[in-house]
């Protein structure tokens, strides 16, 4: 059964059409990678899923519940929005940790505010997550005391603390020095091994090939190709994808 079903998502900013009818679905426990050149709409798609942006058309269904319907005209309440967002987690390219809080507080802030569990349990869970991303000893440090790779791993733990059904990553390693990407990719890989449902926008082709169940190639607001990593990387059908992949193999 599909956890996520996206149908005919269209989004324009003013006159620029950024998404021109996106359809895909995602099975529970699977990893979907999205690749594509700059400006093809990958970030916009993730932002629509996370209700940071609203599509003009189309529907988004999570576990058979329609959480977004572009044809609906009634106003979305704040409470509804917040509930919708909890289906997804989002890890940003630029980490966006909260600088005034320690690593541990970054992770427990939302669970405590939203009374997900008791403060003690939230803390215990945060410490467990920190252990999973290999940063137990940094619990009481501030974000400015961490490397980019460590900050991104905290951001992953922070997103996981809210138990999202689907975790999205927007180029999680693009802001990192090359020698730091490995530690972050390793964490995402271990999440995949643990059957976390994930959507990963990435420019790390090798990683996408290894870790994904499905790969989507976006081009100019549409899904130009979609398939298993072997199909997409091994046997690209469109010229655009061939050219795109060629630009990475140099």
């Amino acid at each position: 059964m599909a956890v996520l079903e996206v149908k005919n998502i269209c989004k324009a900013f003013g006159k620029t059409e950024v998404l021109k009818g996106i359809d895909f679905s995602l099975e529970k426990g699977q990893v979907l990678s999205i690749i594509g050149s700059s400006g093809s709409g990958k970030t916009t798609l993730l932002r629509c899923l996370n209700s940071l942006e609203f599509a003009d058309k189309g529907t988004i269904t999570v576990n058979d519940t329609v959480i977004f319907d572009g044809s609906r005209t009634t106003k979305r309440s704040d409470a509804e929005l917040r509930e919708r967002r909890l289906h997804f987690g989002l890890v940003f390219q630029s980490f966006n940790l909260f600088p005034q809080y320690t690593v541990l507080e970054n992770i427990t802030l939302a669970p405590n505010l939203l009374k997900k569990d008791t403060p003690e349990n939230n803390k215990e869970k945060a410490l467990k997550l920190l252990d999973e991303v290999g940063l137990s000893e940094k619990a009481n440090n501030y974000p400015c005391e961490l490397s980019g790779g460590q900050q991104q791993r905290v951001a992953i733990a922070r997103a996981l603390a809210m138990d999202p059904e689907i975790l999205c990553f927007d180029e999680p390693t693009s802001a990192l020095d090359p020698e730091l990407t490995g530690e972050v990719l390793k964490v995402i890989r271990s999440l995949a091994d643990g059957h976390m449902t994930m959507i990963v926008v990435t420019h790390e082709m090798g990683f996408a090939k290894d870790v994904s169940d499905t790969v989507i190639f976006m081009d100019d607001g549409v899904i130009a190709e979609q398939g298993t990593p072997d199909e997409v990387f091994g046997n690209p059908r469109t010229e655009r994808l061939k050219a795109f992949l060629a630009s990475y193999s140099k």
Partner: protein, 242 residues
Amino acid sequence: MTFAEITLFLANGFVVSLLIFAVTLLCAVPLGLPIAFCSMSRFRPVKYVAKTIVWIIRGVPLMLQIFIIYYVPGLLFGNPIFAQIDRYILRNFDIPNDGGVLQLLLTNAGGLVAVFIAFALNYACYFSEIYRGGIESISKGQYEAGYVLGMSKSQVFKKIVLKQVIKRIVPPMSNEIITLIKDTALANCIMIPEIIKQAKELAATKALIWPLFYTGVFYLLFVGLLTILLGRLEKKLSYFKD
């Protein structure tokens, strides 16, 4: 007059200066916030009204604003409200006649109220611009990181944005606060007996000019104290960087 007597005479005036300082801060710090929010409002009329008010109040000398607030109610509406306050106090209070602080305050209550209003409005507008700058300098990513975790707008503002804003506005606010204590001297334009008015009084009645320069010591000591306190606050917020 002995040196000690002159010092006391000036100190009484400085208490008036400090009172203007304290009341202004107490009113303007919170009042700046709604003005800042209005000037950032997405509802255009609210935004333009707020921006116009800020433009006028920042664009006109504070001394002129004191004159306007003090005299206009009487001139325009035939209701000299501040003089009435004075008359009311004269009738209903036992005003001591010892040249002390209480006498200074009670005999000038109406004018002081006008000064409080003018200063509070003026500084609220300056503060609102500092707040606005601070709020707008926080990256969109901080808000969005809160939203995707399911936090509400007010939670994001209170728990994530506010402290970062405070950290950023402490230095410019410190500047304004230090300017404020010196601006209190403007109150002497409507004869409020703040410290410089007191020194002028000595010049006029005792032909002493040096106390006027001596007032500088009071300001310097107080600004020194402020610098230390504000520096401590800044340091307290230096545990995080953004």
